[in-house]
């Protein structure tokens, strides 16, 4: 930081930026078509979720726009008022499934994204604290982590949801509570390796302030494996969110996430409205799968030794 702020440095700075862009491009070129496709789909899904209000014919969360007279229409049917076509059909309440899926994606992504980010922040902080302060702090944090990790996330989330009750924020809280230990464990083990590294000792030897040591030296170097955990946990969060919503322990029925759409669709399984089950599920799988692939490739890149 301190030394590179002089004026004649800007050219060099630009140079590195250019070259980092190029190396990013180089790097992408070396990935398989399949991986790139997955990345593209993932980014596309995010984009679609964000722009849902502008690219859907209907706001399925707005009661004034949805008409249950149009319930259970097959894909391709024109809406009762003739305004648009139900591309992927309509659900049992007359919601346009295509719109509902994009809005649901939005809900799913925002819940799992918020939860994963919060868990990342909390878990990382806890993990770094455990690694840095050692002793009782470490023991307390890690015992909590151990206990949590003894149980599958879905179970923990289920129990928390059944106590807190359904709802957007409760879901986020449940996911955060269920997922922070993964980050804490990773952050701690990475930080322990980093703390053992001599550059941290050097920083201590140079009497750098603790916050500088943790934020400038420890954190950036502990981040890459945490990013991998982040992507994988993001996918996991999306899956868990969907599962909980499916069990009726998730979001509100009025703003259905993908999981709830599937749950609704599952009730129509015998009555022949199978599109209500299949399309939301496909969207969910596409989301989780592409995030997982991205995470997997990230992991391989960051840890070439373990190509699993």
């Amino acid at each position: 930081m301190s030394s590179s702020q002089t004026a004649n440095n800007s050219a060099a700075g630009k140079g590195t930026k250019m070259s980092s862009l190029r190396s990013l491009f180089d790097f992408l070129r070396r990935q398989s078509i399949f991986s790139l496709l997955c990345l593209a789909i993932f980014l596309f899904l995010i984009l679609a979720a964000i722009s849902a209000p502008w690219i859907t014919p209907q706001n399925p969360y707005d009661n004034a726009q949805v008409d249950f007279f149009d319930a259970n229409l097959a894909p391709g049917t024109v809406s009762g008022d003739g305004r648009f076509v139900y591309l992927l059909g309509s659900d049992a309440l007359g919601r346009d499934l295509y719109s509902a899926i994009l809005y649901g994606l939005r809900t799913s992504l925002s819940i799992s994204g918020t939860a994963a980010l919060l868990a990342l922040a909390i878990g990382t902080l806890a993990g770094l604290a455990a690694a840095y302060f050692k002793g009782a702090t470490d023991m307390l944090i890690m015992r909590a982590v151990d206990i949590k990790l003894g149980f599958p996330t879905i179970l923990v989330a289920m129990v928390i949801m059944s106590i807190f009750g359904a709802g957007y924020f409760n879901l986020v809280i449940a996911l955060v509570l269920a997922q922070w230990p993964y980050y804490a464990r990773t952050a701690r083990s990475v930080a322990l390796v980093q703390i053992g590294q001599e550059y941290i000792e050097a920083a201590r030897c140079l009497e750098l302030p603790v916050h500088r040591l943790i934020l400038v030296h420890l954190l950036p170097n502990s981040l890459p494996p945490l990013l991998v955990v982040f992507t994988l946990q993001l996918a996991h969060a999306a899956a868990i969110e969907a599962s909980l919503s499916f069990l009726g322990l998730g979001v509100s029925i009025e703003a259905p996430s993908l999981g709830l759409l599937i749950a609704n669709g599952s009730k129509e399984i015998l009555s022949g409205h199978s599109w209500q089950l299949i399309y939301p599920g496909l969207a969910l799988v596409l989301l989780i799968f592409t995030v997982n692939i991205v995470g997997d490739r990230l992991r391989r890149i960051l840890n070439p030794k373990e190509r699993g």
Partner: protein, 325 residues
Amino acid sequence: MAAYLFQRLIQAIFVLLLVSLLIFMGVYAIGDPIELLVSPDSTVEDIERARAALGLDQPIWTQYRIYLVGLLQGDLGDSFVYNQPTIQLILQRLPATVELGLVAFLFALLMGIPLGLVAGYYADKWADHAIMNGSIFAFSLPNFWQGLLFILLFSVWLNWLPAGDRGEVDQFLGVSSSLATADGWRHIFLPAFNLALFNAALIVRLTRSSIQEVMSSEYIRYARAKGISNRRILLRHAFRNIQIPLVTVLGLELGNLLAYGIITETVFDWPGMGQLLINSIRLNDRPVIVGYLLVVVAMFILINVVVDVLYTLLDPRIKISGSKS
């Protein structure tokens, strides 16, 4: 060893107490289940009477104390809804869950290990890529959706296999199990496969990465330099090593099977413990919720201990003593 077991015991008690307290309080916070239990035309006195009968009129701490005292005597309390001892309810449903879990476990192993070996052996070849991406796909499939699709496909459209329930049960090794009848097997196939797929994907990945890691390790190269046959290298040197990570993960898998079993049981209407939990949550049946979780927690702790012990048997480097070194 004694010290280790003692330590685990203390920890287990501590965790069980903590879980029981948290869940007890949590479920209390949701509310009492009286409204759901009484018949719709009950009068106010009826409701008060029922509340007193279940001890729900006591302050929460008194309730918890009574529960704890019972717990110390091995009594998990009676279900509000079923009017039966919780433990009996759980034990009644245990065989269904266990048989589903075991069959799924078997499926997962049968699918996972061979595929993992193939992928590991042909590392970075097309077979490997196909298997690995396939496994990512398999564990990206939300369990419940995949189960519903199975039902849609195999039960509704093709009408090959039944979609729910346990089918006919008969005595099998002393417990009533659907593994004893052909009909039972027809019923268990879809749910077990549904439950197994996710775990199979994990086993594939684990087997593959362990095999690959082991095969690229220095001691395998050294074994080759000694002129040992490939067969022996794979079956003795490599396999002996991957048993260790495999056992750990299989322990976790069992946990996963229990947890995801809840969803599979819901989807396929399998009358196991998971269904019991979900129903109890719906009905706010506190003794069953707390009891179920305590039993599950105890099972998890047991699995962990068994895994640890197996670990020491498999890995000569680790000795159980206080903590792993």
